[in-house]
């Protein structure tokens, strides 16, 4: 299965005094970083249309202005639009227009700025109340620092403290109260489900951080970008015992990349070209939810995203304990039916293999659980 990073639009700028190489993958990319690193120079170089500058990109690069940004988004199609320190990007109207036009006009926007994106957060609250995905999202993976050595310039991803050893995690905090929460609670010790999901997970971490030595937070990175600065400053900057599971877009994406589904022909086709398939949705989280719905249709391991989700036992118990019935199990195409460890069968040799080291409910653990239990009871 192709790495996510191969699904991207590569941009290359070459001249005598300014070179840049970077890639964008999703509808919104945010570039920030120190002053005097060349961000505005990049935009000026793109704007110049000079024959002395070689620009390579599979889509036209457009530079927006504060007084014409709306018509730029309305009328351009199949383009990448740069917004360099424009105050319009902080308005509610900007967030609304992006949500309406980015997919419709097949646009990708690059916002060069350091603002907190409160406009997008407040707009997304409307989605939360309606349990819908009509508003465009920012992935944590699409927040970059702009770097330079003088002539060459490139993008570096935002710092994320990723976990390298899960075996000593004494608390797993899950953003998802539904299927994802049930999944982790089924297998692992010391699992806590976030009280209010994305907007409140930071507060949940802060309640736990002083009572645990190592916390793994399962954030849906696909749509957490607008909240990232707040989470980073209040949690990751202050506490060294909090870690994120890397590359986790959402729970459904974990299942898509599991051995249950990663050999499915549709999964292989679409995850090999996420730029084309996932960017037809405002959020890749929404995309993975619909993808798993499609590829598990009429399968014993059916997985549907809904307001009252129930996770199929196919993801929770060993196949030897399957109670669906022989007629169905004979048709089941999951390859690891003989395994006695469903979790291992799902994730061994996958992107998320590291979770197999988390303290399991079904295995002995050498942890002092008294303190954690009291903390979890009071949560």
């Amino acid at each position: 299965m192709k790495n996510l990073s191969t699904s991207s639009i590569d941009i290359s700028v070459k001249s005598k005094v300014f070179n840049f190489r970077g890639s964008i993958s999703r509808r919104i990319t945010v570039i920030r970083g120190d002053s005097a690193t060349g961000k505005t120079s990049l935009v000026n170089v793109i704007k110049s249309h000079s024959p002395a500058i070689q620009i390579e990109s599979s889509m036209p690069l457009i530079v927006a202005a504060n007084d014409t940004w709306k018509s730029t988004i309305h009328f351009y199609t199949d383009s990448i639009i740069f917004f360099d320190d424009l105050s319009c990007t902080e308005s509610k109207e900007f967030a609304e227009v992006c949500s309406e036009y980015l997919i419709k006009n097949n646009l990708y926007i690059v916002i060069i700025g350091r603002q907190s994106f409160d406009n997008f957060i407040l707009l997304a609250e409307e989605d939360r109340n309606l349990h819908s995905y009509t508003k465009v999202a920012l992935s944590v993976s699409e927040i970059y620092d702009f770097k330079t050595n003088g002539v060459d310039h490139w993008l570096e991803p935002a710092k994320i403290p990723v976990i390298d050893d899960c075996s000593d995690v004494d608390c797993v905090l899950v953003e998802d109260r539904g299927k994802g929460g049930d999944f982790f609670e089924n297998y692992f010790q010391n699992v806590v489900k976030s009280s209010q999901g994305k907007s409140q997970i930071m507060e949940d971490v802060l309640k736990l951080v002083n009572n645990h030595s190592k916390i793994l937070v399962m954030i849906d990175l696909a749509a957490y970008g607008f909240h990232w600065e707040k989470f980073y400053k209040n949690v990751l900057f202050k506490y060294s015992n909090v870690f994120i599971l890397p590359k986790r877009e959402c729970f459904e994406q974990m299942l898509i990349y599991s051995n249950m589904l990663n050999n499915n022909l549709i999964v292989k086709e679409e995850t090999g070209n996420l730029l084309k398939y996932a960017n037809t949705f405002n959020s890749w989280e929404n995309y993975f939810e619909t993808l798993i719905d499609r590829v598990t249709y009429k399968r014993p391991y059916r997985c549907v995203h809904s307001r009252h989700p129930i996770l199929s036992d196919c993801y929770l118990v060993n196949c030897s304990e399957c109670t669906i019935g022989t007629r169905i199990t004979e048709k089941c195409d999951f390859c690891y039916k003989d395994s006695t460890d469903k979790l291992d069968a799902l994730f061994r040799d996958t992107e998320f293999e590291c979770i197999l080291d988390l303290p399991r409910k079904d295995k002995l653990a050498n942890l002092d659980t008294t303190k954690q239990t009291e903390s979890l009871n009071s949560f």
């Binding site: 120190d34 002053s35 005097a36 400053k233």
Partner: protein, 151 residues
């Protein structure tokens, strides 16, 4: 003293730092020691004479080609009555903001949680709270957003 405004833009706020600087800069500004210092330390460039600046990358440049962060710092120094939108500045500008505020009364606007030096003093205009280090600033920044903006 450093005064930090976290609320909405107002008439006194210079939001479009580049444009304001390019229109209103004055030649004598570039004789100021603080201005020369920030051009050297942030933009790695040197004021040679008047508005002629030597850049290690571009060669001879005019002030229009300085970074937005340096333009903001220069405006903070030379137009102290105006409120500069400091979200236009990278974190590498914050030590100079703190240094300037030790020499003169300075008010800036911020719409992001800028990284400041570990120990510094500032007053949050909307709440009146005085912060004495970076952690206190983080706490007050997000408390304001939570209680006033509901975010």
């Amino acid at each position: 003293m450093l005064n930090i405004m976290l609320g909405d833009f107002n008439d006194k706020c210079i939001i479009n730092v580049k444009e304001h600087f390019n229109l209103f800069k004055e030649t004598e500004w570039f004789s100021d020691p603080f201005v020369r210092k920030v051009i050297k330390e942030v933009d790695k460039s040197e004021v040679i004479a008047g508005e002629y600046i030597q850049s290690p990358v571009f060669g001879g440049i005019t002030p229009e080609r300085l970074s937005s962060g340096v333009k903001a710092l220069i405006l903070m120094k030379m137009e102290p009555d105006l409120i500069v939108y400091a979200t236009r500045c990278g974190d590498n500008c914050s030590p100079f903001i703190v240094e300037l505020a030790e020499q003169q009364e300075l008010t800036i606007m911020l719409h992001h949680c800028m990284t400041f030096p570990e120990e510094f003093t500032a007053r949050i205009v909307e709440t009146g709270k005085e912060v004495h280090n970076y952690e206190e600033f983080i706490d007050e920044f997000y408390r304001y957003k939570r209680e006033v903006k509901g975010i």
